[in-house]
Amino acid sequence: MSRTSRIGRREARTGLQGGGRAAPVRIVIWVVLIGMALYILAPLAFMVTASFMPARDVMRMPYPWISGSFYWQNFWQAIRGNDGHFMYARAILNSVIVATAITASTALLATLTGYGLAKFRFKGRRAVLLLILGTMMVPFQAIMIPLYMTVTKMGLQDSYAGLIVPFLINAFGVFLMRQYLLTFPDEMLDAARIDGAGELQIFFRVIIPNSWPAIATLSILTFRSQWDNLIWPLLVVQSEEMKTIPVHITRFAAEKFTDEGAMMAAAVIASLPMVILFFALAKYFVGGAKLFAARKG
């Protein structure tokens, strides 16, 4: 047997990217991958199918995956609520208002601060940067009680302001925008200055339009985390009218005789904006995860 062919044969059956593994290994890999895929997808499929079933089918044994029924009344029931006050519709509106306001302000303020830290030299810049990044180490759960007392003292409990104000900007956003803007070409800024543009003008006309990828990633991360926020609304909201989606859905879970079909319909509705964002902007979604990894740099 010649040496070349031996290497050739080895090449054929090795390598991480490799095609021809030994059959048992390949089977194990596929079993694990398919098993995990089922574990991941089954609850999502359950949520969607159950949202179109009457409650008695949702809890039938065995679960009728394809029941053929199209019980759209669940969605009406979820939105209307048991008492007919349309509180879920109100919760959706609240969530949209709060998450949108926070996303917009975070995008603007984080870009502004990131720009200031990346492109301007001033005394104390390093200290400011460290101070802001330091707040990334503060878990929200550790400051929520004092924060709650502050917000109450300001008279903002049970209001949009109370829901929005503590999240107007976050340190990770500043960090992200600063990293992104560090590589922004100075020539563009100087050219604009020579053309007589003011600093604010430069920020709005040059920086913002040229930072879309970073702003989009930050916006998605921010919107998603606010859409998901349960603990803060639980603290500051007292009235039914101010409840956000997560608070409303926990109420479904808390009810003794809850309508499971309507509960899943509510869950589907709550997930729709994220699903749309996910399919429209998947690369920013995944990019967010990778950025998180890049945080080490």
Binding site: G15, L33, I40, L44, Q141, I143, V165, K290
Partner: protein, 305 residues
């Protein structure tokens, strides 16, 4: 010459002012909504203070801390958090690393599988908890699947009733939600390892198993440590799943994780001082972990040669 220099420094000073102007609004914000609450937490933790009470807070020094150290509820919280974090963290890091290695080896379906595993990211944690709540119902899919696999028809595994199963249930939900996220981080880490190294290993006669353990794994170590600390920090903050399950009637003890404990102490028991002391303890633990993360990230300049 002199005039020019003066003008330049004047411009520089003007630029510096603009820099401050851009930074100042957020700095004021962080002062009010991050730093002030931390100091306030330290301060309040030294007082016996009741929520909604008009009585002035009474200074008790470290009284809240000594109370917590002798409180079985607090230690139960610590235990519940430790169990949850340890289980979730081991599962998350181990399985997502394995999945990343497997997915990368199946180039043709890599994109699809990445999307599949990442898909729970689109549902919020409360929605995830609500869906799994129905799965863990005695009549739900959880029992059906387990009984189907173990050939034990009609057994109720008490997902939300027995202490151990309840803890396992919360771990399963959390793991379900985040495994894809960490898998993608690992895939990014694997992708950053130059293919030439694998080729070199192959030429030296390494099998794919060896190639993974001897080449990828050591080079991935910094990513693994980083992901571990990140996963741990994430797990320590868990709240939603436990809260939803408790609202649905599950016992609180086994899933009374620390964030949930803080919430209960402050809102249900009205013990603001005590809740602040718990916050300070959580803060210190997290600070230690973040410091570790920082240390690790500084020392992870991997050289591929």
């Amino acid at each position: 010459m002199r005039a020019k220099g003066k003008r330049a420094s004047g411009m520089e000073r003007r630029r510096a002012r603009w820099g401050w102007a851009f930074v100042l609004p957020s700095l004021a914000f962080f002062g009010l909504f991050s730093f002030y609450p931390i100091f306030n937490a330290f301060y309040t933790s030294l007082f016996k203070q009741k929520l909604l009470s008009l009585a002035p807070p009474e200074y008790i020094g470290l009284g809240n801390y000594t109370y917590l150290l002798h409180s079985p509820t607090f230690w139960n919280s610590v235990r519940a958090t430790a169990i949850f974090t340890a289980c979730t963290f081991v599962l998350l890091v181990g399985v997502s690393l394995l999945l990343a290695a497997f997915i990368v080896s199946r180039k043709r379906v890599q994109k699809t599988l990445q999307m599949v595993f990442f898909s729970p990211a689109v549902v919020s944690s409360v929605v995830a908890a609500a869906v799994w709540l129905l799965i863990f119902d005695p009549r739900g899919l959880g029992n059906q699947v387990v009984n189907g696999i173990m050939q034990t028809p009609g057994v109720d595994h008490k997902w939300l009733a027995s202490a151990t199963m309840l803890q396992l249930s919360t771990v399963l939900v959390y793991f379900w939600k985040y495994v894809g996220y960490f898998t993608i981080i690992f895939i990014a880490g694997l992708a950053s390892i130059p293919a030439t190294l694998h080729e070199a290993a192959r030429i030296d006669g390494a099998g794919s198993w060896q190639s993974f353990w001897k080449v990828s794994f050591p080079l991935l170590k910094p990513t693994i440590v980083l992901v571990s600390v990140m996963a741990m920090i994430q797990c320590l903050r868990t709240f939603s799943t436990q809260y939803v399950f408790y609202q649905a009637g599950a016992p609180r003890g086994p899933i009374d994780v620390i964030a949930f404990g803080i919430y209960n102490t402050a809102i249900r028991d009205h013990q603001i001082g005590r809740a602040s002391a718990m916050s300070v303890i959580l803060f210190c633990i997290m600070l230690f972990l973040s410091w570790m993360q920082f240390r690790v990230s500084r020392s992870d300049d991997v050289s591929y040669l």
